[in-house]
């Protein structure tokens, strides 16, 4: 991952937007994507997608008529809705970065009943399953097509 290339204003708007996409939830006891640790991960994960993220944030700024981070709640929801409709490929990149970082946070993974870890080396257990389900298929005659 490379250092973020966004301006402080862009970072403020990105953090605001991350919180609009995934706000905290008291019901599930999870932070929002604008949480300090999660947002630090987001900002550090932009890397090669900096231009697309900047483009999405420029659209956001245009729709907001200025910095989005200072909008009141009602206007913020309105702008977020507009952005989701108009954001296009650049917004898709931004959203992908936000969501991938959010769902690898230890607290979020834990709330989903997942161990907060990489897949390797522990792996996962998959049950073998009931292979008798194959019985009706085994009973079929070969149906591959004979050739001349």
């Amino acid at each position: 991952m490379t250092e973020p290339t966004l301006t402080p204003t862009e970072l403020d708007d990105l953090r605001w937007l991350a919180g609009m996409i995934v706000p905290p939830s008291t019901k599930y006891g999870v932070p929002g994507a604008d949480d300090a640790a999660i947002f630090a991960d987001i900002a550090n994960s932009i890397g090669r997608d900096g231009a697309m993220v900047s483009a999405a944030l420029a659209t956001l700024r245009r729709l907001a008529g200025g910095p989005a981070a200072i909008l009141d709640a009602a206007r913020g929801l309105e702008v977020a809705k507009l952005l989701r409709a108009e954001g296009g490929a650049a917004l898709a990149v931004l959203t992908r970065i936000v969501l991938l970082c959010y769902y690898r946070d230890d607290r979020v993974m834990g709330s989903l009943g997942l161990e907060p870890r990489a897949p390797f080396p522990k792996g996962h257990v998959i049950e073998q399953g009931d292979w008798s389900l194959l019985d009706p298929v085994r009973a079929r005659k070969p149906f591959w097509r004979p050739v001349p």
Binding site: I21, R84, P121, V125, I126, L133, L134, R138, F143, W144
Partner: protein, 532 residues
Amino acid sequence: MQDKVDVLIIGSGASGAAVAWSLAETKMRILCLEQGDWMKQSDYPTNGKDYEARLFSDYATSPNIRRRPSDYPINDDNSPIKVVNFNAVGGSTVMYTAHYPRLHPSDFRVRSLDGVADDWPVDYATLEPFFAENDRMTGVSGLAGDPAYPAHQPPMPPLPLGRSGAKIAQTMNQLGWHWWPSDSAIATTEYDGRAPCINLGHCTPACAQGAKASTDITYWPHAIRAGVELRTNCRVREIVAGADGMATGAVYYDADGVEQFQPAEVVVLACNGVGTPRLLLNSTSGRFPNGLANSSGLVGKNLMFHPWASIYGYVDEAMDGHRGSSLCLWSQEFYETDLSRGFVRGFNLQFNRTIGIGTEAVTGEAAGVLPWGEAHHDAFRGLVGHRMSVGVCTEDLPEEHNRVTLDPVLKDAHGIPAPRVDYTISENTNRMLDFAVERGREILAAAGARQVNVVRPVMYSGWHLLGTARMGTDPERSVVNAWGRSHDVKNLFIVDGSIFVTSGGVNPTCTIQALALYIADSIKQRLAVLFD
């Protein structure tokens, strides 16, 4: 100039590794030039919690996004399907899903059976011993007895059904449609020094466990022990032909970027359906002004992809979610031609069970089923771990206007002209996709799935790069003969997916490797008269 070798293989992926290993027993001096480097399992994505994000950066499937030093750019702007591959020792077997079906017997006889395209100059029966040998070398898991195929015995037991497999099986039984555990190039037991699968998920962008069979850990250790030299970070610019029309060797850039000439008695191309025509078209001379081995004009033409669709939804039952191999079952119910369906040839269905939780969120958001705001959390908990997904792999028939040429502007880091892909999905394939998507919807409906979504075609699904240097008996209608030798250049062989005459409707790696072993065997059988 380097010392002359007997056999120069270009490309170390699926086919290059197989042919190198097979020819090693001849004790000829064999050298393979590979533009990439050895990969390290300790660097693979699933070692870290950021494993899903790396699919969009250094482990992106598209070389145009990934942009590793080993990659070359591909202009695929004029194609709805983008080329995906990997460039390293092992080639795209490092980054594939290891779904490992064989082509069916009918795939080799489409002209005779269905009056379309052309028959292959080889058949399933000829390749059968090489399929079996390749299964053994690769380490294939599966289950004998599939009524959709001639009998064969994978060397390892199948991947587990799991929750997803059981749900799919119950649904397919309800519909009365065929399903079977996939032949997979994934070790389910200790095998040839490889550890068994531990269900990491996220199989495609390289396996940190080493359970997935990539040729850097299957064929290559054996080939190198048998004396084959593998030279990495060497990008070949062109194959050189002499005044007698025979290949004399290849010009390449070494790891330091220094131009080298490697002389050889025999040159074997193993760069697959985009890399091989690119190299041949870049190998021009006074004798071969349109590129090497191209008197037919067919080098680069007849590109076939396997246009893909994905139909997915969410069921109430808990599925395997992010755990386990990506694919576990296939269905060949609609594989063979039935003209009442409105198209010729057919497709196979693949059931994808694994998706990372972050990717589930990303795709759900993009599909409009995962909202922003407070409702996000409830909605996500209804999606994650509940996905049921049907993949469609359609047969793509050859059409000359689907082609690989050289881009007039785009070049790689060494200044070598890059490939350009021009491709459209045929009307027959579109009708096949219509039918297949409806069958996918039918499966999901029978499973009780909600929020069904269709992706068609899947844009970044151009794994299967076939047909651009087709084999055949007629030099005017094919590039290589029935055993992979160029019609025009008697010491030039092609062993990769570019020699496919038709695509079949299944993933091709297994058949590519069986063909490579068959061609290597043909070379060994004819050593004394190889150039006659």
